[in-house]
C-alpha cells in the first residue's frame, strides 16, 4: 500500500487517475481504516486529502448557502453556528455518525462515499438538496447528492474523480429540516431506518418538501411521493397518515441482523411522521 499526501485536488485526482490498482481517498478515515484493518479493502494507493488547503473550511456561498470542506469533521460541523441554524437536520444526521471519538474524524463526504444505504448524514443532505463539487480527469462537475450513491458500497463517481466540497443551498425563509433514525441502543448503532424531512411553509401550509429515507432500500432514496403527501397541507392527521403510507410504499427493505423488513417498514412510517413534525415546527420558528 502506498500512502500519498497531495497538496491540491488536481494532484489527488491525478494520482487516482494514474493508479492501476485499488484506490481509496482518506478524509476522516473512519470507514477506510475499519475496512483496511479487517482486510475487506486493502487499497494499493491511499490518498490522504487532509493536506489540501481549505478542506477544513466552512464558508458562505455567494448564493447564501454553505460550502463545506471535505475534511470538516462531524464535531466541527456541530460547532458551526451558521450551518446549525440553517440546516439542523443535516447537522443532526452527521452528528449521529459514530461516537464522540468518531465525530472527531468522520466527514460528510466520507459518509456519502462509503456508499452505505444506512449512512446517517446522507438523507439530510439529499432532503436539503445538497450538491457536491467533483474534480476529475474530465474536469469539474457539480452533482446532486442523490445522484452519488449507486448501491451498497458503490458510488457513481468515475475513476479518478474526487469530491472537493459539499454545497448546501440557501436555507431561505420559513424552512425547516430534521433527521431521525431508529437504533436499538441510544448510540453506537448503524441506522435501522433513517428519515430526513426538509420543508418550507407559507403560514400553516407546507409549500415545498423533500423527503429522503435511509436503510429501507439498496441505496438512500429521495421520495417525491412522500413529499407530495404533505405539500399543500398543514400536516394534519390525514396528511401524516398519507405521508406514512407513502414512505412505507417507497420502502423495499431487507431483513438482516439489524432488523426485519416488516419492522423497517413499520418504523419508516413512524419516523417520517415524527421527523416531519419536527421540521414543521422548526420552519415555523425560521424567519429568514
Amino acid at each position: 500500500m502506498r500512502f500519498h499526501t497531495p497538496k491540491t485536488f488536481e494532484q489527488a485526482a491525478a494520482i487516482a487517475a494514474g493508479a492501476s490498482g485499488l484506490t481509496r481517498f482518506l478524509a476522516g478515515g473512519t470507514d477506510v481504516l475499519v475496512q483496511l484493518r479487517a482486510a475487506i479493502v486493502t487499497p494499493d494507493d491511499l490518498i490522504d486529502l487532509k493536506h489540501i488547503p481549505g478542506v477544513k473550511d466552512i464558508a458562505r456561498t455567494t448564493e447564501g448557502g454553505w460550502r463545506i470542506g471535505i475534511a470538516v469533521s462531524g464535531a466541527e460541523l456541530g460547532r458551526h453556528a451558521g450551518v446549525c441554524a440553517d440546516w439542523p437536520g443535516v447537522v443532526e444526521g452527521m452528528q449521529l455518525v459514530g461516537s464522540t471519538q468518531v465525530q472527531g474524524r468522520a466527514t460528510l463526504v466520507g459518509n456519502l462515499c462509503n456508499g452505505s444505504p444506512a449512512a446517517d448524514s446522507v438523507p439530510g443532505m439529499m432532503a436539503a438538496g445538497a450538491m457536491v463539487s467533483v474534480i476529475g480527469p474530465q474536469g469539474n462537475r457539480a452533482v446532486a447528492v442523490e445522484d452519488i450513491p449507486a448501491g451498497p458500497s458503490r458510488t457513481t463517481l468515475l475513476p479518478g474523480e474526487v469530491i472537493t466540497a459539499i454545497i448546501l443551498p440557501p436555507r431561505g425563509a420559513h424552512g425547516g429540516d430534521a433527521y431521525l433514525r431508529f437504533i436499538p441502543r441510544t448510540e453506537m448503532d448503524i441506522a435501522v431506518v433513517g428519515v430526513a424531512v426538509n420543508l418550507r411553509r407559507d403560514g400553516a401550509r407546507i409549500i415545498e418538501a423533500r423527503i429522503a429515507l435511509g436503510a429501507v432500500a439498496p441505496k438512500i432514496l429521495l421520495v417525491p411521493a412522500a413529499a407530495q403527501a404533505i405539500i399543500g397541507t398543514a400536516l394534519d392527521a390525514v396528511a401524516l397518515a398519507a405521508l406514512s403510507a407513502a414512505a412505507i410504499a417507497a420502502s423495499t427493505p431487507i431483513s438482516d441482523k439489524r432488523g426485519t423488513a416488516t419492522f423497517r417498514k413499520d418504523i419508516v412510517g413512524v419516523l417520517v411522521q415524527r421527523a416531519a413534525r419536527i421540521a414543521y415546527t422548526r420552519a415555523e420558528g425560521a424567519s429568514a
Binding site: 479487517a38 436499538p184 439489524r258 416488516t262 419492522f263 413512524v270
Partner: protein, 750 residues
Amino acid sequence: MPKDDLKTAYRLVGTRPNRPDGLDKVTGRARYGADISAPGMLHAAVVRSPHAHARIIRIDASKALALDGVKAVITRADFPTGLTGEDWNLQENTLAGDVALYDGHAVAAVAATSKLLAQDAARLVEVEYEVLPHVIDVDAAMQPDAPVIRAGTADHSVPEGMHPNVVKYIEFGHGDLEAGFAEADLVRAQSYKTEATHQGYIEPHACLGQMGADGKGEMWVCTQGQWYIRRMCSAVLGTEASQLRVTPSEIGGGFGGKTTIFMEPLALALSRKAGGRPVKLVMSRAEVLRATGPTASASMDVKMGMKVDGTITAASVNFRMQGGAFIGSSPVGEALSCALACYTVPAVFHQGYEVLANRPKAAAYRAPGSPMAAFAVESLLDEMCHELGLDPLAVRLKNAAREGAKASYGPTYNRIGLVETLEATMAHANLKVPLGPNQGRGAAAGFWFNHGGETSVSLAIGEDGTVTVSVGTPDVGGSRASLGMMTAETLGIAYESVRVNIVETGALGVNEPTHGSRATFASGLAAVEAAKQAIAQMCARAAAEWGIDAEAVEWLDGAAVPAGPNAGKFPPMSIAEIGAKMGSTGGPISGHHEVTAGGVGASFGAHVVDVEVDPETGRTTVLRYLVVQDAGRAIHPAYVEGQYQGGAVQGIGWALNEEYVYGADGRLQNAVFLDYRIPVASDLPMIDTVIVEVPNPGHPYGVRGVGETGITPPLPALANAIAAATGVRLRSLPMSPPKVLAAIKANARG
C-alpha cells in the same frame, strides 16, 4: 442488625479504601495480555474456517512459508494424538482435526516477524473444504433430520432413541408432581427461548508464549486461572505441566470466558516449531466473538401450579441447551439446579438435554445457566401472579427458600438470605415511584451457588513488619483490596502495610481460577488462615524472647502481648519488632494455607426495574434499576456494589439487545461491537444497590461470593417490566425492538 453470632465490628472490613492496583490502572502502567514483548519475539495469526461445518480436505501453507519472515506454520498434525474426554475437546477446539465444527474454528496458525506479515501469511494458507450440512438452533439440532455433528459423542445418561446430537440427559426432582398440580388453583405452562450471548470483556485474548524442544515453556497470558492454562496447554501439547510456567497478566475482564484455553497452545506450538522464539498471539474482536466461548442458547418449558393465596404447589422444567459442538460445554445441569432454587416447592421435577450444534465451544459466563433458567421460571411466576391478582414480590417472599428448607436440587439449605433480600427489596423507595403511560415495573429473584475450590495462599512477614500475600486468583474487580483488608484486619495492621500479589504457577500450589465468585471467599479464607499461622509463629517468637509459654501470648492490634496478668508484664512486641529480628529468632516467618475450600454460602438477589416502551417502535428504555443482594459480608462495599451493577447491566444487555445472529450459511453475522450490542453509558440510568448482609457461617468474615448472582434476575425482571408496560409477554430473548413491536402489533390485532 447482625444476623448471626459473627463479630460485626471491624476496623477495616466494611470500609472503602483505595484499591492497591488503582494507580497502575489509571496511569496506563498496568500490563495486560497484549502489553508485553520479548526479545526475538514473533507474531502469530490464525487461519479460521469460514464454514459452519466442513471437512478439511487439504491445507497448503507453501505460499505462506515462501514469504520472507514467516517462521512457522502449524496444523493439527503438529499436535499429539490419542487424547480423550475434555482434553480431546480442548485440543480439537484449539485447532480443528478432520472437520471444522463452526464458523471461526481454527485450522492453522502462522508465526512471522511482524503482526502484519503474520496476517498476510495467514491469508495465503490455502485450505480446501468440503462443506457439510450444519445446524445452529438447539431445537433444530434435536430433530430427526438434523445433520449429525459427531456420532458417538453421547454419554451414558442419554436414553435410547434420541438424536445423536443429544449428548447428555439429566433428570431430578422430588415430591408428587401430579398431586401438586392437582392441588393448585391455577396451572400454567409456557415455553421460552434465549439466544447465545458473549461475556463481552473488552480485552481480547492475548498471550506471549515460549517453548523449547525440551518441552520447557513460559507463558504470559490474560486469564482468570494460570493453573488451568498450564494444565490445559500441557494436555493439548503433550508436555508436562510443571515444565510450563504461566504468569497471569492483568486481566481486562473475563466473566467466566477466560477460565479455559482457546488459542494459547498455538503460541507455544508455534514457538516450539520456530526454534523456541517467543510468540505473541492477540485475538481480534471478531475472533473473540466467533471463536471463544459464548454462553449456551436455550429452549425451555416450564409448568407451575399455584394456589389463589400464591402458594406454589408444584413445578416442572424441561430445558434444552446447546453449548457448541463439544459435549460438556453447556451449563444445562447448572440451569436446572438453579431454576427453582429460590423457592420451597413440595413437588419439583427437572429434565434437561445437552445438544450439539455448529457453534463455538461455550464457556462459563457469570452464573452459568442460571440467567436462562431464571428468565423462564421468573417470567411464568410473574404471569401467574398477575393472573391471580397477587403481588409478585409478596408471592416470592411467601414461597422463599430459607434455612432448613429442602432445596429444589435436593439438599437442605443452611443459612441463606433470600427472605432478608426480598424484605429489603419490598421496602425500597424505588417501588413507590409512580409510573406514567407506557411505563412498567418488573421484579425477579435470582440465585447462584458460589464456589470454594482449590486454593493455595502464602503470606510472608517482611523485615519491617509489613506483609506480602501471594495469591493465585487473578484480580478481576478489586480482590487485591478485599484480600488485603481481610489480611490486615486479621493481623491488626494497616491496610497499606499489606501487599497482595497475584503470582505465577511456580510460586504456589495449584489454584483454581477466579471463577464461581470465589476470589474474595476462598483466597480470603486462605489468607486469613495463613495470617493466623504467621500470628502463631510471631507469638511463639515473643514468648521465647520473654521466656514464657507460647500459649501465654496473644495477638492484639498488630503486636504480641502477654495473655492476661498471670503471663508476666512485658510491653507489646509489634509485628515490626518481630520482623526486624526474625533472622536471629528462628528465621523467616510466613504462613501458608492450602485447601479445597468448603463452607460456601449461596447468594440470593432480587432486582426491580422500571421501563418505558415506545409503543410505536418497540424500543425499551430502562428508567430505574434496583439490585438487592445478600453479600454475606461486604468486605469492600464499593466493589460489591460494582459487582451488583456490572452484573445487572450485563443482564440488561442480554435481555434487550445482545444475541448471536447467524445467517442461513451458519456464519456469525455480527462479530463486531457495532452489531453485538452491549449496553453503552447513554442506555442506562444509575444502578441502585442495597447490600444485604446475612453472614455466611462458613467464612471467617462471613463472605458469600457476590460476582455472579447479579446477572440472573435482569432477564426476567425486564420481561416482567415490559409486560407491565405493554400488556404483551415476551418469551424469547433478546427483547429487541423488532420483537417487542411485533408482539405489540399482534396483541392489538387481538
